[in-house]
Amino acid sequence: MSGLRILVCVKRVPAPGAQITLTPDARAVDARNLAFTTSPHEECAVEAALQLVEAHGGDITVLTVGPPEAEEQLRFSVSVGVQHAVLVSNDEMAAGDDPDPQATARTIADTVRTLEAEGDPFDVLLFGNESADSGGFQVGVRVARMLGIPIVNGIKGIDLADGVLTARREGDAGFEVYRMALPAAVGVKEGINLPRYPTLPGRLRSKKAEVRSIASTTEPGGLTMVRFATPTVELSETVLLGAGASAAAAVVDLLGELGLA
């Protein structure tokens, strides 16, 4: 085998701070003043792919289904060392509509078939366990089922030897171990590794990298977003215990009142 061929599927999400603000029609997060990022579990999936290729050779394709702006997240992946980038989009996504999980999965599976028809099959497919924004917990499983390959979710450790992928998942009192023959898919969780930062040459390379665009033609599935709402949070008045080191006595009094010190 001349190295691994790895696909990583990532999602672009806004990075809200202390509060989520909605658009007036409540059908989207108001992102006018927000930065965007790669959903954290997928950021770690990219790092996991880089580490696999460092150990075993091969190359990595990063794929996103989303608006044209998601090119930013693809280029970020290139800047940390990914070789190929693919953006799958359509007019609805360009207008800000998030496809439902069934549609996303069909789109990814179709794209995988297209990419595999042009070259070698993928050995490893990596997904985030769930996207940070919609949290559907299913796209990776659906894609793996459509392609007929095994998948395990919730993975916080990956090893590869002799064509067998060993995956570890956090359980109640330790780790559960799974083993899959390649090709295999994994739903990765943050904590599996510490994603690297881009290098300067990496940044320059990513600016010039080619991002391949593919049009999505998938029909919607059966889960349709109607509107968003922000949960009501009951807040009590904050009791100020003081300022600086002199507040220590008041803090320890409080610990005593709460029966904790």
Binding site: I20, V141, S236, A250, A261
Partner: protein, 330 residues
């Protein structure tokens, strides 16, 4: 589909998780008039599941230990045989995973982490549901249009207490009725993802069970800066937590991270040192009974949302608290 709704029981080698009862309560809320069937996948023959009107046990050698694909295949086979009006589970890691597999096999939509659900009326029309996004920071109202509705309920929204059985007139099975065994066919691929080994990790005070959590954020400034936080934690029998900035900097391991992509904690007291209070952090500790914020910025969201606050430099305040506790203990 019109049969008895299924509740998938989350268990590990026969030990039923407490959280699974939340799905029984959720199913009862969705279907007050219908009997509810608990489905136990794999393992030895279980006792009838209390709170359900009947219990199915799916028995097969490939299901002895947790095996996500095989569990999904087996559950799907039972659903084909029984035509349940819905399949629900609690949104645990396994619950969501097994439901995702069933949904993928049946090519049906799956709504995860639901907090309210109204089945289509009349049956067969779309459900109206409300579910959590952003780890609970945002609610989504959605329509679920499915021939086989598949839903997980968000953790800790529905009670762990046993729901009342369905009204007698609709009852098809009595509580305590015999467990009905189902033996699936399962294809040759069924065993390819399963637990092949377990690694025990010894833990002292765990973040998720500690009565007090002392947590540090960017304001701590360095790995060494956590020494004072650790000293305070030790005096209080507390666990140390941190924000994502801290794990990204490599100052603490990810196992200490609190928040949307870290751990959920619910201590009696959460002491947030130099943490701004971003929603992704807040969802991880909002269940704390009391929050004490230590922060230089009186307008930081963590300060305005906290029950108690001390304004100032944590590098002075935390050691002063440590000294004061030691002084009083003599």
């Amino acid at each position: 589909m019109s049969g008895v709704p299924f509740v998938v029981i989350d268990h590990d080698r026969g030990v039923v998780g407490d959280d699974t009862r939340q799905a029984l309560a959720f199913a009862r809320a969705c279907f007050p008039e219908l009997p509810i069937a608990a489905v136990v996948i794999g393992g030895e023959q279980p006792e009838p599941i209390a709170g359900a009107d009947s219990t199915f046990h799916i028995r097969h050698a490939a299901l002895d230990d947790y095996a996500p694909e095989a569990w999904g295949d087996a559950l799907h086979e039972l659903a084909v045989a029984q035509s349940p009006s819905a399949i629900v589970a609690t949104g645990t890691e396994r619950g969501n995973e097994v439901l995702a597999h069933v949904a993928a096999i049946a090519d049906q939509p799956f709504a995860a982490n639901v907090i309210e659900a109204a089945p289509g009326d009349p049956p067969g029309t779309p459900w109206r549901i409300r579910r959590l996004r952003w780890g609970g920071s945002l609610l989504e109202d959605a329509r679920l249009d499915a021939t086989l509705p598949i839903l997980s309920c968000a953790l800790h929204v529905f009670p762990n207490v046993l729901p009342n059985a369905a009204p007698d007139r609709d009852r098809e099975a009595r509580p305590g009725a015999a467990v009905v065994e189902f033996v699936p066919n399962l294809g040759p691929d069924a065993g390819r993802t399963r637990i092949v080994d377990r690694v025990q990790v010894a833990e002292g005070i765990t973040l998720t069970t500690a009565p007090v959590v002392v947590s540090g954020g960017r304001g701590v400034g360095s790995e060494e800066g956590f020494a004072a936080i650790e000293a305070l934690a030790e005096l209080l029998g507390a666990a140390v937590g941190c924000s994502r900035v801290v794990t990204n900097q490599g100052w603490r391991p990810h196992a200490d991270q609190v928040g949307q992509t870290g751990k959920r904690v619910a201590p009696d007291l959460y002491i947030a040192c130099g943490i701004s209070g971003a929603i992704q952090h807040w969802v991880g500790m909002q269940a704390a009974k009391n929050v004490l914020a230590i922060n230089t910025d009186p307008d930081a969201p963590m300060v305005t949302k906290a029950d108690y606050a001390v304004i100032g430099d944590l590098h002075e305040i935390v050691p002063a608290i440590v000294d004061e506790i030691r002084r009083r203990r003599g």
